[in-house]
Symmetry: C2
Subunit: 350 residues, 2 copies
C-alpha cells in the first residue's frame, strides 16, 4: 500500500457542508508568476469624506440625509438587487425555460462613522455594536413571514468589487432560500438525522483534537482554516455552542464574536501588511420555515490574495468549468495565520 501525503501529492478534499470537492495542488506554488499584479489601494483616507454616501450627515442617492450617527448605522440599499413589491409570478416552458419572481429587502450597514477605518481597526466594543445591529436586523427582518433567508455579508477591498472604502457590509433578505444554503441545509440535516449532533459540532471536536488548522480560539468561538478551504487563506468562524442563527447569541457571545472577528482580521492585515480584501458572511438557518435543529451558525471568510498584497488566486478556466482548485495547503495557510501577531501592523509603524 502507498502513503497519502497531504503536503506533496495532488489530491481532492470533500467540503462536508456542500458535498462538493476542491482540488489541492500543494506542489504548484513553485510556478513563477508573470500575470496580473493588482494595484495597492491608497490607504490615506480622511476620517470624513464629504462625497461618501455612508459618512454621517451626507446625502444619499434616494434624497435621504444620513443622521449624525456615532456607532453603526443601517438603511435600505438605494440600488437594491431585490425589491419588496415584486409580484409572485413565474414561467415554465417544458422544464427547459424555468423562472420565478423573487422578492427581497437589501440593506447597507455602516460599521463606523469614520470613513478611514476598517473592522480590524475598530475596538472590540465598537465591533460588538455592529454584531448587535446585525442581530437586531436579523430579528426584525425575519418578522416578515415571506422572508425565508437573510444573508449578512461584507465585501472588503476594491478587488472584491467594493465600490466604497467606508467600512460597511450588506444584508440581503429574500423570499427563496439561496443555493449555498440549500446545499448546507441538506448536508447538515442528513448528519443530524443520523447522529443527533450538529455536523459542525462533530467537525469542531475533531479539529480541536488535531489542532492542525486552528487559527484562533476564545471562550465561545473558534477560527480555523476548513479542511476543504478553496481560497488560499479562507477561514471559518464557528460558534462553540450550537445555535442555528445570530438571534440566539447572548451578550457575552456577541462580545466574543466581535473579539474573534477583530483578531482574525488583524492577522489578515498583518499577513501581507496590507488592508486585506475578502468577502465574508454568516451562514445560518433559513427563517419562517420550521425549527432547523441541525443548523449550526458559522461565518465564512473568502479572501483572494495568494502570494502578496498584489498577487491573487484566479478562480478561472478550470475552476469555473470543472472544479475549484487551490495551490497551497489549508494546513500551510492555517500555520501562517496562527503565527501572526494579533497586534495590527499599522500600530507598529507609528
Amino acid at each position: 500500500s502507498t502513503t497519502f501525503d497531504l503536503d506533496s501529492n495532488p489530491h481532492r478534499r470533500l467540503n462536508i457542508l456542500t458535498g462538493e470537492w476542491v482540488l489541492v495542488s500543494p506542489h504548484r506554488t513553485k510556478r513563477p508568476w508573470q500575470g496580473k499584479v493588482e494595484d495597492v489601494t491608497a490607504d490615506n483616507r480622511p476620517e470624513y469624506d464629504p462625497k461618501c454616501y455612508l459618512c454621517p450627515g451626507n446625502d444619499r442617492a434616494d434624497g435621504d440625509v444620513n443622521p449624525d450617527y456615532k456607532e453603526s448605522f443601517v438603511f435600505k440599499n438605494d440600488f437594491s438587487a431585490l425589491l419588496e413589491d415584486t409580484p409572485a409570478a413565474g414561467m415554465n416552458d417544458d422544464g427547459l425555460l424555468v423562472a420565478q419572481n423573487e422578492r427581497g429587502i437589501c440593506k447597507v450597514i455602516s460599521f463606523s462613522p469614520k470613513h478611514n477605518l476598517t473592522l480590524p481597526e475598530l475596538s472590540v466594543s465598537e465591533i460588538t455594536a455592529v454584531v448587535d445591529l446585525w442581530q437586531k436586523e436579523f430579528n426584525s427582518l425575519s418578522e416578515n413571514e415571506w422572508i425565508k433567508y437573510i444573508q449578512i455579508f461584507e465585501n472588503k477591498g476594491e478587488i472584491m468589487g467594493c465600490s466604497n472604502p467606508h467600512p460597511h457590509g450588506q444584508i440581503w433578505s429574500q423570499s427563496e432560500v439561496p443555493m449555498e444554503i440549500v446545499k448546507e441545509t441538506e448536508r447538515q440535516k442528513n448528519y443530524y438525522a443520523v447522529h443527533r449532533e450538529s455536523l459542525l459540532s462533530a467537525y469542531l471536536k475533531i479539529e480541536l483534537k488535531k489542532n492542525e488548522r486552528i487559527v484562533y480560539e476564545n471562550e465561545h468561538f473558534v477560527v480555523l482554516v476548513p479542511f476543504w478551504a478553496v481560497w488560499p487563506y479562507e477561514t471559518m468562524i464557528i460558534s462553540k455552542r450550537q445555535v442555528n442563527s445570530i438571534k440566539y447569541f447572548n451578550g457575552v457571545e456577541k462580545a466574543a464574536l466581535a473579539d474573534a472577528i477583530k483578531m482574525l482580521t488583524i492577522k489578515y492585515d498583518n499577513l501581507f501588511e496590507t488592508s486585506f480584501p475578502y468577502s465574508a458572511g454568516m451562514h445560518q438557518a433559513p427563517v419562517n420555515g420550521g425549527d432547523h435543529p441541525e443548523w449550526h451558525w458559522h461565518m465564512h471568510f473568502y479572501p483572494p490574495l495568494l502570494r502578496s498584497a498584489t498577487v491573487k488566486k484566479f478562480m478561472v478556466g478550470y475552476e469555473m468549468l470543472a472544479n475549484p482548485q487551490r495551490d497551497i495547503t489549508p494546513e500551510f495557510a492555517a500555520n501562517r495565520l496562527k503565527e501572526l501577531s494579533t497586534e495590527h501592523y499599522k500600530l507598529k509603524l507609528t
Copy 2:
C-alpha cells in the same frame, strides 16, 4: 393573477444543466459605479517575443526548446496542477475529514506561432487546425484508461488570470470526474431517461423557435446566451448534431466549429472595442466509464466584462455566499451580441 416581466422584475432562473439558480436583477444597471476600474492591457505586442515560453524556438522552464512550429503546438505543462504518478491513497476520518489522491496530465496548447494574435484574429482554417489538435489530444488522452475526464479550456486576458498573452489554451485530464461534469451528467441522464432525446437537443429547439437569445448560427452550431446565463455576456456554443464529445466531429463540423468560435470572439472584441477577456471551455462526456448517450457536447464562454472594457461584474459577497446574481438580462446581452458586426474592429481602424 399578476404578470411576469423578465425585463423588469427581479427573478431567478434555473440552469437546467446543473440544477442551480441564478438571481437576475434587470433594474440594477442604473446603479452608479464608483468601484474598481480595470487597466486596459496594452495591445501592441511583437509577432515574436524572445522571452515568451510559447513562441517557436524558445526555451521552456523544463529545459525543452519549442520546435519551429507553423500552426498550433501542444506540450505538457511545466507547472502542472496534476501529476501522472500520484499514488492511489486517501483518508476518511468519520466522514468529516475526507480526501483522496488525484492523478492527471496537464497540457498547454499554443494556438498560433504568432505572439501578437488571438483567436478572433486567426483565419477559420488556422482555428480549424486548433480544433483538429483538440480532437487529437482528446482521443489520445482518453486512451489512458485511468483518465476519466478531459477538460479543454482557455483563459484569455490578464483579468482572467492568464499569465502570458501568447494565444494559448490548456487541457487538464484527470482520474476523477470534476464537480461541474458530475452535475451536468446527472441532469442530462435524468432528462434522457424520460425523453429519449438529449436535454440540449430539446433546449436548442425551443431556443431556435423563440429566437430571443440566439447570437449566431451556422450549418452545424448555434451560439446563444443561455436562459440561465450568470456572467453578463456569457454564451454557449451547442452542436446541432448530438455527439457526446469532440471525438465525433467530422471535418465539416470541425470547420463549422472554428467558424462559430471566430464569429463569436469577433463579436466579443467588437462589443467594447477591446481584446475581450473570458474563460471558455468544452463540456463533454466523461471517458472510460460507459457510453453516455445522454451527453451533448457544448462549449461555455464566461466573460467578466459588464459595462465597458474596464468595468467588470464582481462575483463576490452575496454571489459567493448565497447565489450567483446578474444585473442585465440574458435577452439584452443576446441582442447586443447579435447586432454586432462579424468584421473585427481592428480591421476598420487600419
